[in-house]
């Protein structure tokens, strides 16, 4: 049997080709209970790189080779995907999974590869001095939680004192991540925080909603992902819970969850770290060079949806960081360590976004060695079921640095200590 494995492994090592191009990896989950979220993001990510290859011949003259590895939102298989691809010189990892991010943080520090977790992952990783290879701009979970509470406070007439807010969350690192911030805010604003964890995969919530009905909280914060969102929203409609008292994080705000609910989803709100809609100039290029030429990765039924756009944005950040790394090091075939320098000096102004065809997609931001979290600006969008579209209803909320900075400091230290990470420090 060992001989059999040795033969198989020999075959495996031969089958792995070597690429001279810029190797990018897309860790996808097009299968399993979270596929509804995974598919549009990976499609957007792949389509943008295809467009770059078609339009500019890649980045700085180097073609982009995108390797896909399917992990089904399963952390173990995700780690196997990482191990498989990291040796092939992958430049950036964007796993779109908080569970996998927590696994990869130590590994990327060890292998010196960038891990960019856009609006997910470990919030404390915005402390760039401790996690030089991890980035979580443009906004992280704690920014999201702060904006949710700020919006609810406005809606409730400027005070949340005496209200009861339920934090209905995916029972994983993702759902638990905002708890410190929400608990601190509950203390400050004087509301009562009810925690309602829902276990993976979240299909069965029959035990949850009778409790919600009995508790009857004033507001529900929905921090779900995949099939859990859909079931939660439908269950809320079933017990007649008012939609405008439910508020999602950006991961529980996918069009694919809301469209099938028709008018029942009207008024559902969600925080978002980017503009909504599909009228960006980039779609002209994508349409002409990718969709029309039949090069699209997916079935083209999700183009322009929030998650698809987020995939495109993730690819834009990676591409711009690589471009910057190429100019910093004056070499087109960059290494993972060089790309890190590109990420760390990344500055995106409003004009940059306009040139890239994503005018006004996210607010301007600047990454520094100490701050890998970006601006942290978060706005609120509301679902309009007649237009079947998100409408941005507030301006961007500024992050509550006074509350979050000390929390990040202590959380970052605690995580680094538990994982044996020594802070690299900043010059």
């Amino acid at each position: 049997m060992f001989r059999f494995i040795a033969t198989a492994s020999l075959a495996a090592s031969i089958a792995v080709p070597a690429f001279a191009d810029l190797t990018m990896v897309s860790l996808t989950y097009r299968t399993g209970p979270y596929a509804a979220g995974g598919v549009p993001f990976s499609d957007g990510y792949a389509d943008y790189f295809t467009m770059l290859n078609e339009r500019d011949g890649g980045i700085g003259g180097e073609r982009v080779e995108l390797l896909e590895c399917e992990f089904g939102y399963n952390t173990e298989r995700g780690v196997a995907c990482y191990e498989e691809t990291v040796d092939q010189g992958a430049l950036v990892y964007q796993p779109l999974s908080t569970g996998l991010t927590l696994e990869l943080i130590e590994r990327v520090q060890q292998d010196e590869v960038v891990l960019h977790t856009m609006g997910y992952g470990l919030t404390a990783a915005s402390d760039g001095a401790t996690y030089p290879y991890v980035f979580n701009f443009p906004a992280h979970y704690w920014d999201g939680a702060v904006a949710q509470i700020a919006y609810l406070k406005e809606q409730n007439g400027g005070s949340l004192a005496g209200t009861r807010i339920m934090h209905m969350h995916h029972n994983s690192g993702y759902g638990r991540e905002p708890l410190p911030t929400l608990e601190a805010l509950a203390e400050i604003e004087g509301f009562e925080l009810l925690s309602m964890p829902i276990d993976h995969p979240g299909e069965d919530q029959s035990a949850i909603w009778p409790v919600v009905e009995a508790e009857n909280p004033d507001f529900i914060l929905l921090w779900g992902w995949g099939v859990m969102n859909r079931v939660a929203l439908e269950s809320a409609v079933e017990i007649g819970y008012p939609m405008d008292q439910m508020m999602g994080i950006w991961w529980s705000a996918a069009e694919s969850d809301l469209k099938p609910m028709r008018d029942a989803a009207h008024g559902y709100t969600s925080v978002t770290f980017h503009a909504v809609g599909d009228n960006f100039a980039i779609f002209n290029d994508l349409n002409e060079l990718v969709y029309q030429r039949d090069l699209a990765r997916g079935r083209m039924n999700n183009i322009g949806e929030a998650l698809y756009n987020r995939g495109v944005a993730a690819a834009i950040y990676a591409a711009e960081a690589i471009r910057l790394a190429q100019s910093i090091h004056s070499v087109s075939d960059v290494t993972p360590a060089m790309v890190r320098d590109g990420y760390e000096q990344l500055t995106m102004t409003a004009e940059d976004f306009e040139t890239l065809g994503m005018e006004g997609f996210t607010p301007p931001m600047e990454i520094t060695c100490t701050d890998h979290g970006g601006g942290g600006l978060v706005a609120v969008a509301q679902w309009d079921s007649t237009l079947r579209k998100w409408q941005q209803v507030t301006d961007y909320y500024a992050p509550n640095d006074a509350l979050i900075e000390p929390q990040i400091e202590s959380a970052s230290a605690a995580f680094a200590q538990s994982r044996g990470i020594t802070p690299a420090g900043c010059p």
Partner: protein
């Protein structure tokens, strides 16, 4: 021509009762052990160790454990994932509470703790059998996962609810943590696999193993000839859980490095290990290894062939994987209910007669 006793004279009782009585068999196993210990660590790439060898070794231990309970003693268990979680959380608590204790002993202690929990959940087996026992162990699975999620003490009240293994060394080499070299982790797991497989082989040939099999084949008859069902069933639960605890401990500390109970030790793990022993062969040590290798390698080979070689989309291959694994389980249940081990046994019989079958 192969696997013949002819010419292999035993001149002492020790020789006669050795682990592998057939000379060729003995030499093959010795060669495999030498290969695994002395050659593989130096030729394997990091990816192969991490993606294939480590899960194979760790699941082989779990499959051995479940095979003792289900294959040898006939008690169906769906609690494997939960017991693996007990091993993992014991390891985490011991690692953080006693930073100076060697990881080797921590893994063994975790196995012993899991054995205790296994006995506790094995108590219903004295009254209930078959499907009803399966449901009782299923309850153990859900209860244990729920408990590790709910009680903050188990994960040291960490914010993410995850447990993560700090760096620990054996003989100066890091075994756990991000700095561990793959070949060190591989050898560390291999030592446990080798020792436990040896132990299983000898347990199942001895008095305990025979009493397990007596209970499996007909519990009333076994009781009449003097096999104590209480002691036999509980010893099967204890030893099986000991193995599964060790595999959970290694799975968390050495392989994953960090884990979340619902995802890493959910019901899918219980089924995965059960499929391993069904496909590999119930009541067979070779079957435990074959089943583990099969379930670990199949997705890798399918991916290599369809995604990397033919170039199909990865999601299609992932779906295909579900279909093929499901189909194979049905196929094995119908065509070869005794699994790969029985297939191997048939081949051996044929080889004994080859090339003159008449």
């Amino acid at each position: 021509m192969f696997y013949r006793e002819a010419g292999d004279y035993k001149t002492s009782y020790v020789d006669d009762s050795q682990t592998f009585p057939i000379a060729l068999d003995r030499r093959i196993y010795m060669a495999a052990a030498v290969l695994a210990f002395l050659v593989v660590p130096f030729v394997m790439t990091d990816y192969l160790v991490n993606a294939i060898m480590m899960p194979f070794l760790i699941f082989a231990i779990a499959a051995l454990g479940l095979n003792i309970l289900t294959g040898y003693c006939g008690q169906v268990s769906l609690g494997t994932g939960g017991f693996m979680a007990v091993g993992a959380y014991s390891t985490y608590k011991l690692m953080t509470a006693f930073p100076d204790l060697n990881i080797f002993f921590i893994v063994i202690l975790s196995g012993i703790i899991t054995a205790g929990v296994g006995v506790l959940f094995g108590l219903p087996s004295l009254r209930i059998k078959g499907f009803y026992l399966a449901v009782a162990t299923l309850a153990a699975q859900f209860f244990l996962v729920w408990m590790f999620n709910k009680v903050g003490w188990f994960y040291n009240y960490s914010a993410s609810g995850q447990i993560s293994a700090p760096e620990r060394t054996v003989l100066g080499q890091a075994v756990t943590g991000a700095n561990a070299a793959p070949w060190v982790s591989y050898l560390f797991c291999l030592v446990f696999v080798f020792a436990l497989a040896w132990l299983t082989r000898n347990l199942t040939r001895g008095r305990i193993g025979r009493s397990w099999m007596a209970i499996r084949d007909m519990d009333i008859a076994a009781e009449i000839i003097g096999v104590n069902p209480l002691r036999t069933k509980l010893s099967a639960f204890a030893i099986s859980s000991f193995y599964i605890g060790i595999s959970g401990s290694l799975f968390f500390a050495v392989y994953l490095g960090a884990a979340e109970v619902g995802e890493a030790f959910g019901i899918q793990k219980s089924f995965l290990v059960l499929f391993m022993i069904i496909i590999g062969g119930l009541g067979s040590i070779f079957g435990s290894f074959a089943g583990a290798a099969f379930m670990v390698l199949l997705p890798v080979i399918l991916k290599l062939f369809f995604a990397d070689f033919i170039g199909w989309p990865t999601d299609l291959v992932a779906h295909l994987n579900f279909i093929i694994v499901g189909g194979l389980i049905v196929f094995f249940l119908i065509v070869e209910p005794h699994g790969l081990a029985a297939l191997w046994r048939t081949i051996k019989e044929k080889l004994r007669l080859w090339p003159f079958p008449h």
